[in-house]
Point group: C5
Chain length 390, copies 5
């Protein structure tokens, strides 16, 4: 039986290990050259997708080499260069040359994950963000860095993971010319993608809302060792989520406040809306964190409550049977009734035994009534309920 | 018996589910078009009520179409357009056109709930607020978004829920020309409504004050599993209340500080008063939150105290009867008294049995005195009291 | 016996109810007319006392009507109009007219309690304060609102409660021309009264210092259910005290910083001293709050310690007597000694019984030594001590 | 035995009482005249020591009257007037006249303790500080107010306690012309003394470091009721220490930032160093506070751990002997073996008794192995260890 | 057996003692001369290494005397004077003269550890930093002060410990002319070293990440007294780590913000990157601190859970056997069956004994089913699992 039980235990530990990634930062070997790029050698080379559009047309081209971008960057049409994956140091270095990126910027783009931030290099803005997506079949969320390089008429985005992103609706809007995106410049595109990233936190938050609700029920009805574990995991993940959204909010605020000439007044209004959403996300994360630490208190109290119930059961049973056993012990004594009329004459009474049983019954009844009046039995049904119907 | 018991349990869980709404924010599908309106399709179309007044007269008209407003907006008289409900996307879009609203503003109005805030669009101010009202027959409060669009001579208010609001006294003051409302412009009207919304928090707070007092009694006199649950619910709801009032206070502060030309100096003085009330509400919410977390500590200690009482009862009963049972066990031994005068001669004594009983009685009495002197019995009356009269 | 016990319980709950007042704010019916005055109808009409003084003379007159003040306000001598009680709406409205008060100011004065604050109306300053006084025979403190209207040569003070105030020493100083009060203007008088109010917090704090010391002893020597209650009450009242002093400190700071022409440089120096005292009060309140939350921790640990002692007693008694009872049980078995020499031959030994008792004694002694060496018995004396001498 | 035990208890309470002084502030009778001096009537009159020095010479004179100072104040040489004790109101008032002190300043100097602060009166700076010194033979620290009046060429220091100070090294440096003190003005002297006061916190902190280390050992190896008490005391004293250093840091910062003409640029650099030390002290105090609150958690857990051990012992003994006693009880039943071959034939078996004993032994062994495998016995050695070697 | 057990105990305490160093600050004897250097007399004299380089060449010279530096300081090439160790007061004083250091700066360099900070002395910048390195074979980290004096063309670094530093990669880059270091001035060198120091925190953090993961497993699967100890140690060390990184971040921020002419715009960009890393480190430390305090909660709950399991075991065993023993006690009574047919006729029944055993078996079975249904037995396997496989 124990074999089958080991499974969930391992599962738990495994999920701890997996979660631990949430707290990793990229860091160089101390003292290493600034601008050193670390590329996972087994990764595929990045795909470079260019979407070039103006009010009339929109074309999508998969580029072979980074240098092909150069042709599009200075035209009036908006060029969105979307780099999927960080798999090749050479290509990334060439990209850096095409877009005229500072070595440190390239480092921030490649050596993921970095803390979200905004940096202004006169002719382009650098925006580092974290995109989160809920996992389909498990608790927790995927997190991936997306870096933006925003120029006058172009936007370069570099994604850590080639498989996933939440930009599809934006691509559709460009293709179908829905909304104002085709009529606006690259800064509006950057806003649209940022907005998609921030709004991407909400589905993740929703899963946490559901998990908290489940835990609220579990902690009240049937608190087990696993519950404790789940609450701790929840706090851990919310901590990671907070670390992702906090600097992001500050970054958007910097975009709005610091008057970079690359962002128009109109887009600044849109960013204000995006900022509001970021504040809402933070609000929710903080609220969930407070709830989860409240859950820990409730858990502790529930455990103590359960202990009380167990102790009551022990006390009731001991209190009833220990005195009865003592009475039985009395009449089990071997005082010689023949030596003296004072020695246990009850043993020779005609109704000695029935009277003795009746006496014991009376004691037991008295104690049961004593406990009943104090409401101790009500709680036993609670124990039962908690374990069966909770 | 368990059947009837399941009921309150479900009730608890149900009330958890209901409370969960307090933590919902509206959010778009990530990446969706900014300005997309989400309208509950099964809702009734909104009713549009126009109250137009100046110092001499006041008329109330129910409008058929949003475009009818246009006639009133530029007149010198104050026009209050009150839209009840968010049921029709078309009507809301037409409203947006009449009032010249930015798409994002319309989104904030329709896609409820949003975080309270103030935004200044030169020719009109946008104020997003949360109105709360106590539930009549249950714990908790209703919460609904009310959006204000304040222009030179008009005020547009859009309410999420058509059934409820706390604006009746303001309407009465307009109708009966009580106070200064008819002599003032639309900014005073906006103040009057904001003030009604902020003052609407006080009755809600009052219900929390009462619940805390009840819990204080319960936690001291009869702490049960339900008590724990109630404290947790309380903390939850106070968290939601705090999230409603905090941004509202900031919004009013913005109104006072940022010198929008739409708000006169005189009304700014009134808003300062309204701001003071918002600060008072926040003060109270924080105080209640501290009290409720203090209650959790008291609950924990009460549970531990109860455990101590239970343990004492068990210890007293065990300590008295276990030694007595041992003595009875001694004289239940079958050593052969005939083989030796040393073998349990007591059994053959003339007064063996009475002496034995007396000895047992002495032991019991000694132990009872021992416990009595240490004050252990006082507490049993507490257990009893707690469960019967608390 | 239970009857007499119910009394203290009710007392506790009653004192909870009384304390609840500490958290009440005045609030209007939501949406009601700004400037609506709420007057307790059963209260006596306020007494209006005028003290008019300059360097040479000082006169004290009880005024019949508020309008009589008008004669004194514009003279060079300082006029202190002291209104005792809030009992008549009519008189208060007339006062408002005489002193040219904004309707909202009058509302703040009458609809007590309000949050302490300072407001500058060019020709007069409005200062709302809370005066606290220790209760004579009970825990806790009285709290009453005192509103100041400071003009060029006059000071209007309105007190919530006619019976109590801490202004007597100031009145004496005016009467006897002690100190500089008679040589200074109305701003110095306002300072002197404010200083009396702030210094009035110290005696209240002192009572809390004493209560904390008592609780420190109680929690260590004899923690009971009542102790828990007292700690909670303490935290509650300190919370209320903090709410009274915090805004007051901010208000005094505003007086010093914002250069109202009604306050001279010299008085600003005095107010700085008063501000220092307010900071000291806050310091103390925060310190007491930290101590009281530390007390809660100590209480919890004391309860756990007590539980350990109880458990030890149970364990010692059970561990000693349960094995002995088992041994007695062995020799209570009825194996037929006649059927076999292997069947309990001890029963027929000459020294069977004494040897058996000796064996039991040895077991008991061994266990007692075992527990003694581990120091378990030391603690029992603690239990005893705690309940008798603590 | 209890008599001797009461002693440490009283000791504890006594030390609580003594510590309570740490939280006292001076306060006037509410409403009393500003500038009222409270002098302990039984104190000795203060000694006034003048140290007058320039680069060439340094003389030390004990003055009879405060007025003698006047001769030295305007000379070019630096005059340090050191007043030891606050014993005479008259002398202090005369001092105030000589140094031209505001009545409120004199009050701050005399009515100790005041909150540390800096005040700028054009021709002199007032600096209120708290000097701490470790107690020689007990836990805790002495605390005394030292007030500085810094003029162009003079420094007046007033010490609360005549017996103790940490200025001896500074006096020695003046006497022996070591360092730059004789080449500098009064502001450097003030710095040197301030620095001595701030550095005086470090030896006090060191004693706390040692106490925390001792408690860390005690809490892990042998947590008793006294440990709890000690942790609470520690938190209390650290709270007092924090209250002494916080405002002091702010005061030094004010000295550096606010450009009083009495402090030269060179001395400002030295004060920056002194400020760094104050920040270090605060850092340490906060660290110790966090450690001590961590200790409380560890204590709580240790107590729970101990309870687990006690419970395990009880459970092991009960679990082993209760079933055995039951078996013995079975064979103590009096079923009549003669009436039926089914009635307890074991009693008449040849090896009945040995087999029965063997059966009991097997049960006991099985249970011991059961508990042994679960590692329960390992912990008993911990209980033992904790109490003997911890 | 106890002997071998004492070892780990001592180990623990020893490691506590060692950790205590983390909280030491250097402090002077209160009142001592500013600028007094404290040199450990048994330390070796410091080695002075000069690395002089420009774009073309780089030479490394070990200097005999500090004065030899003087030749290099004013040349155009960058001179890095690296002083290893603080062993000789004389050499350090001579260094101070060569580099024209203020006495207080020299004190900060020599009297380690000081709080990290930046000070601007016009012709040179002083930067005090803390370098941390993970211990190879034990928990915890080494910490050492490194002081920077940055001039126009030179950088003086003084290291507390001669054996260890993390500057080797930087030295290699200078030697091999890798990257831009040889093309840049001394400010870039200072940045490169600072960056190495900040990046040096990451490997330390990584060890903490691993320890937290281990503790997460241990606290869930097998919480012992040692676990508690480890969590406390972890919190302690994280506290020390926080104290090292916080002021460092502020110092770097000061370098970026305050426009010292010694730091070029280009290097300021690099410092911004370094600042980002410092923020990341702080982020991680705070996250780990939150996790470790969450671990303490989980530990507490785990202990309570374990207690519940122990209590359940005791309750199950007691509840089953105590009633059975009572039944056996009944039939052990000696009522005289011959005196009356009512006196225990069961004893004489033909199937008395088997029926009695069956009755007992039924009771036991009923109770087992009772507990089984409530899920009590599931948990016993948990106890077992926790101790064997966890």
């Amino acid at each position: 039986m124990t074999e089958t039980r080991i499974q969930p235990m391992q599962l738990v530990n495994q999920s701890i290990q997996e979660k631990a990634d949430l707290f990793e930062y990229f860091y160089d070997q101390p003292g290493s050259l600034p601008g050193t790029l670390r590329v996972k050698t087994d990764a595929q080379p990045p795909e470079i997708v260019l979407i070039d559009y103006n009010e009339e047309t929109a074309t999508r081209i998969v580029l072979e080499t980074p240098e092909e971008c150069a042709l599009y960057l200075d035209t009036e049409s908006v060029s969105w260069v979307d780099v999927l994956g960080l798999g090749s140091e050479e290509i990334l270095l060439r990209l850096g040359k095409v877009f005229n990126l500072h070595l440190l910027v390239l480092e921030d783009i490649v050596n993921v994950p970095q803390r979200p931030k905004v940096e202004d290099y006169d002719d382009h803005l650098v925006i580092i963000t974290q995109m989160v997506m809920p996992k389909e079949k498990a608790d927790g969320f995927y997190s991936e860095q997306v870096s933006f390089i925003l120029g006058k008429h172009y936007l370069l985005t570099v994604q850590e993971e080639p498989q996933r992103d939440c930009f599809k609706p934006v691509r559709d809007r460009i293709r179908t010319a829905k909304g104002m995106i085709r009529k606006n410049n690259a800064d509006y595109l950057a806003y649209a993608l940022l907005d998609a990233i921030i709004d991407g936190f909400f589905p993740v938050l929703e899963t946490y809302g559901e998990r908290i609700e489940e835990l609220e029920e579990e902690v009240v009805s049937n608190p087990t060792h696993q519950t404790l574990n789940k609450i701790y995991q929840l706090r851990r993940e919310l901590l990671a989520l907070r670390r992702a959204i906090w600097p992001q909010r500050d970054a958007i605020n910097t975009l709005i406040r610091d008057g970079s000439h690359l962002i128009s007044e109109e887009v600044r209004i849109y960013l204000r809306d995006c900022y509001d959403h970021a504040v809402q996300v933070m609000d929710m994360v903080e609220t969930y964190r407070e709830l989860s630490s409240g859950l820990m208190d409730v858990y502790m109290s529930s455990i103590s409550n359960k202990m009380n119930e167990i102790m009551k059961l022990l006390t009731v049973i001991s209190s009833i049977f220990i005195p009865l056993t003592f009475v039985a012990g009395i009449y089990g004594m071997n005082f010689n009734t023949e030596k003296s009329p004072w020695n246990m004459p009850e043993l020779n009474w005609y109704l000695g035994y029935p009277l003795c049983l009746a006496f014991m019954g009376a004691i037991a009844l008295g104690l049961v009534i004593f406990f009943w009046k104090r409401g101790w039995f009500e709680n036993f049904s609670t124990i039962k309920k908690n374990n069966r119907f909770g």
